[in-house]
């Protein structure tokens, strides 16, 4: 035995004396010193609570996580969140369970990625005047001096100020009589809110209760992706996506572009956005009984009349259980018609509700902001906005040059901050105190997780400092040291109540108002689109939103949900349109609209309406976006929403488009004959019903599941001896394809939890993206309007793992609990395991990505200390969040209890807004995994090669309307409804 030959305990080794210090020991000492310096630098807390670690608070144990309730204030809707903090540094965001908006504790992709912004080394580190660093008192004095004499002052903020910030702003405006406040958003649903205001008589927004809906119609509303309260939408929608259940819902989407919502549709009609008013009016009339107009329009625009008939039938049959949603960029007339439809369908109070908001929640028109600047204010203060980059239309930067004093506070030296006279570093949301109106009746509270990393100060603190300087006799403010004090005083709670509030994260109960009865408003009918023009949709990006995350490399490297492009905004157009223009992927087109012209690279996208071009706003950053500088093209000059544009082929070399997926046809072949692969399996209700009436038996005598009947089920022989996993735990995961909406929250959650690196556009283009979970997208049917199947793909932790047998150094091996472990420090990087993985979920560190990208020690603080950071030459992949499994096991062992099924929650599962992912112990009888596997829709991908995967998928039933269900008895082996080959 080796242990007999190698002395493990060697008594003869003396500790090295200082004099005899070898070079190696010296290096060790150096690195130890450096580490200690770093570690002490890591522990950053709000100054008032900082304590030496030897005298640590009893709740804080080194290396043990602490969770703080807070409120997400960086998005359009404030969600409750739980911030995981280890040794004083926030390392993971999770949803706050029980919160009124996201009661299941779910989160968006942006919430997950927001930590990147906190530790972004690009952040501005000091106040600056004319490019020179100044101190905060100097900056405050300069601002106060400018404000003191000013007669016209303009303060520009986002619309999402919390109530306390609003109160402070009111104090500021009192102290500065000439001050005017404008709420600015580059791409808010302003027009829709104004239309709603007219229709419903008050400022507010339509909310959804899709859990009550059986039929949902979306007119260009990406309600599962970028539009509105997406977490609530996704949760409600997912609750109705149980095939066979009584409330199994049907989603119709009529849209111009291809969105995540359109991808989840049961029936989708490509509709040019500028004709959507005609569609809405036609539908309204059809619901009232006269379908002539709708038929005429359908013929005129080439809409699928059968689908529209079925839709009208469906809506009429489901009064009180139907909802119609319309996208923010559609004309007011559409919202008027939709409101009438919803009233006819009895949606109010059942499927739709109303959330009253202050009028200030509606952003000012960009033109008004331009006008206010043109009016010649002496001081303009920008807080957390970047109009120089993203103001639609005019060149805002130029207009700003005339303003004598521009003060801009931002996280990075972005375009606006760089253009300012005084540039101020803002504190990140996780370094700030705040409150936020979650929904009518509920106020969330946000608490700082860490002292400002770069000497920044939150916007409200700046406002407070200036207000105090200008109104020294404001008695109440005199005693207020900072915004924390202001906030706490405004809440006026006793210390114990205040602490209870902080623990809970929010106060109040949601009013959940019913949708008011709509008024008949005569909105002008939108003009018919001019010949020779295209509808150019300037959409929110599903990851970087309106550009507010344009410097967030995690989100930049997350693929656009539908065309899988990373690190770019492109002109997505129907393949037919691309052919007509004579362009293909990577060619350039010129888009002209509103007197501006922008050159964009082309990506043909099946499903996009042929007269519609989709691109995303917020790209083309020039300053302060770190890795995002120079990424994509700024389309703000074209305007906002949907604009009529001329699109023409532009010259220029082919542009490199980096995509994480290239083939979207799961039956792809090199000949005309499709290859039926049965990877993402789907069916229609008729097929499913027919199966359920007569469940056939498989070769092993057991009843086949529905997906198994779609393919040739083989009797498999196990050659290797069976491994007994029946003792202890046996981990498994299940994904319901009916629920996945392709939002990518899981991907970002995994990225944050597991310290996954970004690799950059060129590396993704070569095929080296590193994400451990990906959303595979398969398109089937005609390229004009394919059916979409989304399939999250991650390590399947196969029992017969093909990766394990081929590793020469045993760097990947099975645990007794059924996990396929990867031992990083043993891995020599032969990449054989990756080659032999049928799912291609293993990811190789082709370079020292982590090391080369860590340009600043602060980035190291972001890493989850419970997960190894991988180095060059090492293979990595999904671990089923083994660190979380172990944490739960240790906790249970300490309490001498068993680990409950469902106690381990993986990062992807935790984030998933539609609860499509389930993780559990397959050994638990009647447990989560056994239930999922026993379902008649359950199947394993590629089980025919006998690798015995441990990720169970639930086949998707595309809930086709019975009139449109193309399944026929005897039609066997249709893995994918729609038997034509995909578009490419």
């Amino acid at each position: 035995m080796i242990s007999n030959e190698v002395p493990i305990h060697d008594d003869h080794v003396d500790p090295p004396s200082a004099a005899a210090m070898s070079r190696r020991t010296a290096m060790k000492m150096f690195s130890l010193t450096a580490m200690m310096g770093m570690v002490s630098g890591c522990i950053r807390k709000p100054t008032r609570h900082i304590v030496a670690m030897h005298d640590r608070p009893e709740y804080q144990q080194p290396g043990m996580p602490l969770y703080y309730a807070s409120t997400w204030t960086e998005g359009s809707h404030p969600y409750g969140m739980l911030i995981k903090q280890i040794d004083g540094r926030p390392i993971k965001i999770e949803g706050l369970e029980g919160h009124p908006l996201n009661p299941n504790g779910k989160s968006t992709a942006q919430m997950q990625a927001s930590l990147f912004g906190l530790y972004d080394p690009e952040r501005l580190r000091s106040p600056q005047q004319g490019g020179q660093d100044i101190t905060w008192p100097e900056a405050d004095k300069a601002v106060a001096d400018a404000l003191r004499g000013a007669r016209r002052v303009l303060v520009v903020t986002r619309t999402t100020l919390g109530p306390s910030e609003q109160a402070l702003l009111a104090r500021f405006r009192k102290a500065v009589p000439g001050a005017q406040h404008m709420a600015y958003e580059p791409a808010q649903d302003r027009d829709r809110r104004l239309a709603w205001q007219q229709i419903y008589g008050a400022a507010g927004e339509v909310t959804t209760k899709l859990e009550n809906a059986k039929v949902v119609l979306s007119l260009d509303a990406d309600f599962l992706g970028t539009d509105g309260d997406t977490l609530t939408n996704a949760r409600g929608f997912a609750e109705t996506r149980v095939p066979g259940a009584a409330n199994f819902s049907r989603l119709y989407v009529a849209e111009g572009g291809m969105t995540g919502t359109g991808s989840s549709a049961d029936h989708r009609i490509p509709v040019r956005p500028s004709t959507s008013a005609e569609l809405a009016a036609g539908l309204l009339a059809a619901l009232g009984g006269s379908s002539a107009a709708l038929s005429a329009s359908a013929t005129k625009h080439g809409w699928d009349a059968k689908v529209l008939q079925a839709l009208v039938k469906d809506l009429n049959a489901n009064k009180g259980k139907a909802a119609v949603l319309a996208g923010p960029h559609l004309p007011a007339a559409v919202h008027g018609a939709v409101a009438q439809m919803n009233a006819m369908l009895g949606a109010s109070g059942t499927t739709l509700g109303w959330n009253a908001t202050p009028a200030a929640a509606i952003a000012s028109a960009p033109a008004d902001l331009a006008k206010a600047i043109a009016a010649g204010p002496e001081v303009v203060i920008f807080l957390g906005v970047n109009p120089v980059h993203d103001m639609p239309g005019a060149d805002f930067g130029k207009a700003l040059e005339a303003v004598p004093m521009v003060v801009a506070q931002g996280l990075t030296a972005d375009e606006t901050v760089s253009a300012a006279t005084i540039a101020l570093p803002a504190a990140h949301a996780y370094e700030s105190w705040n409150d936020a109106t979650v929904t009518d009746g509920v106020t969330g509270i946000a608490q700082p997780m860490v002292a400002p990393l770069f000497g920044g100060r939150q916007d409200a603190d700046s406002l407070l400092a200036w207000t105090k300087a200008l109104a020294p006799d404001d008695g109440a403010l005199k005693a207020t040291k900072d915004f924390h004090g202001f906030l706490q005083a405004r809440w006026g709670l006793a210390q114990d109540k205040w602490e209870a509030l902080l623990r809970k994260g929010y106060a109040g109960t949601a009013k959940n108002a019913a949708l008011p009865a709509p008024r008949e408003v005569a909105f002008p009918a939108p003009a018919a689109p001019a010949a020779g023009t295209h509808d150019v949709v300037l959409a929110l990006h599903p990851q970087t939103v309106d550009g507010r995350f344009g410097g967030n490399a995690w989100l930049l490297e997350t693929p656009e949900s539908c065309n899988k492009v990373v690190w770019d905004n492109v002109a997505a157009m129907a393949p037919a349109t691309a052919r007509a223009l004579g362009v293909s992927e990577g060619d350039w087109v010129t888009v002209e609209a509103n007197g501006a012209s922008v050159k964009l690279p082309v990506v043909p996208q099946p499903g996009v309406q042929k007269d519609t071009i989709v691109t995303h706003v917020g790209y083309g950053r020039t300053q302060g976006a770190g890795h995002g500088v120079g990424v994509g093209v700024n389309v703000a000059p074209l305007g906002s929403g949907v604009v009529a544009g001329k699109v023409s082929k532009a010259g220029g070399d082919k542009y490199l488009i980096a995509k994480t997926q290239h083939v979207f046809d799961q039956n792809a072949s090199v000949t005309d004959q499709p290859m039926e692969r049965h990877i993402a399996i789907s069916g229609t209700p008729k097929a499913y019903e027919a199966y359920r009436k007569d469940v056939p038996d498989g070769p092993d005598g057991k009843p086949l599941s529905f997906p198994d009947t779609q393919k040739h089920k083989l009797a498999l022989t196990q050659i290797d001896p069976e491994v007994d996993y029946s003792k202890g735990h046996k981990w498994g995961l299940a994904i319901d394809l009916n629920k996945c909406t392709g939002c990518h929250a899981c991907l970002l959650a995994c990225q944050s939890e597991n310290n996954i690196v970004i690799v950059g556009k060129e590396e993704v283009a070569v095929g080296r993206d590193m994400s451990w979970i990906r959303i595979d997208r398969y398109e089937a049917g005609p390229e004009e309007n394919p059916n979409i199947l989304l399939q999250p793909m991650l390590c399947q932790h196969c029992d017969n793992a093909p990766c394990e047998t081929v590793c020469p150094v045993n760097a990947t091996a099975h645990t007794p609990e059924g996990l396929n472990d990867q031992i990083y420090n043993r891995c020599v990087g032969t990449r054989y395991c990756g080659n032999n993985c049928p799912y291609k979920v293993r990811r190789f560190n082709f370079f020292n990505y982590t090391g080369e990208q860590t340009t600043d020690p602060v980035q190291e603080l972001r890493a989850n200390p419970h997960v190894t950071v991988r180095t060059r030459g090492v293979m990595e992949k999904c671990t089923f969040c083994v660190q979380r499994i172990n944490a739960v096991k240790f906790e249970a062992a300490n309490k001498h209890v068993d680990v409950e099924d469902g106690a381990v929650v993986t990062a992807c599962q935790q984030a998933c807004p539609s609860d499509a992912i389930v993780f559990g112990d397959a050994n638990v009888k009647g447990g989560l995994i056994e239930t999922a596997r026993g379902g008649d829709l359950a199947y394993h991908v590629l089980e025919e090669i006998n690798v015995r995967p441990n990720v169970t998928y639930g086949a998707r039933i595309r809930n086709a309307h019975p009139d449109l269900d193309d399944w026929k008895p005897g039609a066997h082996g249709h893995g994918h409804d729609g038997d034509k080959k995909g578009g490419h």
Partner: protein
């Protein structure tokens, strides 16, 4: 010093008339001189030119090798579906080249194929250099070569972590290292009498010393010859299974996987046949040049080349059969992934490589059915060159099965970078550097064996016991 051994034995019993014996002696001495001429003369400009070119290649290899180790595998074109690219293609290609040497020196020796004599030494040398070149790739292709170099060996360690004996890569380590060691020993054993001959002819003190040491004190005694012959036979016996095993094991790298296009039982014989095929083509490629420039046409005759071409033809038919059988089985299996893998191989992104492979390996070698082509240098030379190219592409085509395997979502093409091309070109530079040095410092034809096979060298007539 003693006269060359065959002489001493024949001289003991002068049964033939002295004029014939004298002529034979002269012939044998001429053989000595002819074969050793390149070793004893000042390098020609041609050799220097060739060596210079080879050196440029070797330097390119060194640069790309060091650059890869310094920066990481990312400098190649490899990506996530295509984890292996040029490096493993090159590895299998060079290992395959190595096969001809052992086949010629061991199997043909055991089968008493006398025609092997003039080409055996050269082929063996080629084998060893090819294996040396091949061995560079498995090491440099790992993500962390500094660890791979010893973690791939079953060395006892404090962690008690053992290598994985289920992994074909580990089998590779054993198979290839065994092969390299046995080939080197076999080659060196055969070299000993010739090194002694070189020592005996040496004029310079240093030369005498070096060849003297290398020849291990060979005296050419009867006893030494007996031991030598036995050892040589033993090594031949030992090497013979290796010819079959090494490339079978290399083929297991692919055959034991679950990847469609790799997962095939035909791979071991197919790889062995392919290895012999490419090996003979490479021997022919090199030897045709060597015999011309070293003026050894009378030693390595057209008859020899004809026989080699026949082997090329036979092995070409074998690989051609394998290509067709792969397609048939893929169709016959009814497995959609298998069918697609082979259709894609012929018609997918790398269909052009498949076309090169079939043209070079199956179609062009059919010309060797014609005797005139087999015996005409200018006809056969392009064919053997084509086989070299075709066999490189065969390995490339097989490895490219990775670019489209099971899930279409992860399909991605492989595009080589300048480093990939540099390593490929550089590997030839390294190989030719070694080969050219060999030509200058060691006898390229086994002198002793050539003498034994020289006309009149063996006793004739009935008085032999």
């Amino acid at each position: 010093m003693n006269p060359p051994p065959p002489d001493s034995s024949t001289l003991e019993e002068p049964v033939v008339d002295s004029s014939r014996a004298a002529k034979l002696q002269a012939d044998l001495r001429k053989l000595d001189a002819d074969i050793q001429a390149p070793m004893e003369s000042f390098p020609t400009q041609r050799w220097l030119g060739a060596f210079g070119l080879a050196q440029i290649g070797a330097v390119i290899f060194l640069i790309t090798f060091v650059y890869t180790i310094a920066r990481g595998i990312g400098v190649w074109g490899n990506n996530n579906p295509v984890g292996w690219g040029f490096a493993i293609t090159n590895f299998v290609f060079w290992i395959g080249i190595g096969h001809a040497g052992t086949l010629i020196s061991a199997i043909l020796y055991l089968l008493r194929q006398k025609w092997r004599t003039p080409i055996a030494r050269f082929a063996e040398a080629m084998t060893i250099f090819a294996v040396i070149v091949a061995l560079q790739f498995p090491l440099v292709h790992t993500g962390r070569p500094w660890l791979a170099a010893y973690w791939l060996l079953p060395l006892p360690n404090a962690n008690n972590i053992w290598v994985n004996f289920r992994s074909p890569l580990l089998w590779d380590v054993f198979a290839v290292s065994t092969y390299a060691l046995v080939s080197i020993m076999f080659w060196y054993t055969g070299l000993i009498p010739d090194l002694a001959a070189a020592r005996d002819r040496a004029q310079h003190r240093v030369r005498k010393l070096v060849y003297g040491i290398l020849s291990l004190g060979w005296k050419g005694s009867n006893r030494a010859w007996q031991h030598y012959e036995k050892a040589y036979l033993l090594f031949a016996g030992l090497s013979t299974p290796l010819v079959l095993s090494v490339h079978s094991v290399v083929s297991f790298d692919f055959a034991t996987s679950v990847i469609p296009g790799w997962h095939t039982t035909i791979f071991p014989p197919y790889f062995v046949a392919g290895a012999v095929f490419s090996g003979f083509a490479m021997v022919a490629t090199l030897i045709i040049i060597m015999r011309k420039y070293f003026k050894l046409q009378h030693v390595i005759t057209l008859d020899h080349l004809d026989l080699m071409n026949r082997i090329v033809l036979v092995t070409s038919l074998m690989v051609g059969y394998a290509y067709m059988m792969e397609l048939f089985i893929a169709w016959y299996s009814g497995v959609v992934f298998e069918r697609f893998a082979f259709m894609n191989r012929a018609m997918g992104s790398y269909g052009w490589a498949y076309a090169i492979m079939v043209t070079c390996n199956v179609i062009l070698p059919q010309l060797l059915w014609f005797k005139k082509i087999r015996r005409t240098i200018k006809f056969m030379y392009p064919i053997v060159i084509a086989v070299n190219i075709g066999m490189w592409f065969e390995r490339f085509v097989i490895i490219m099965a990775l670019h489209r395997d099971y899930l279409p979502s992860s399909w991605h093409d492989f595009t080589p970078t300048w480093v990939d091309y540099g390593m490929l070109i550089g590997s030839f530079g390294l190989f030719f550097t070694l080969l050219l040095l060999f030509c200058r410092f060691l006898p390229t034809v086994a002198i002793a064996e050539a003498k034994m096979d020289a006309p009149g060298a063996q006793p004739t007539g009935g008085h032999h016991e």
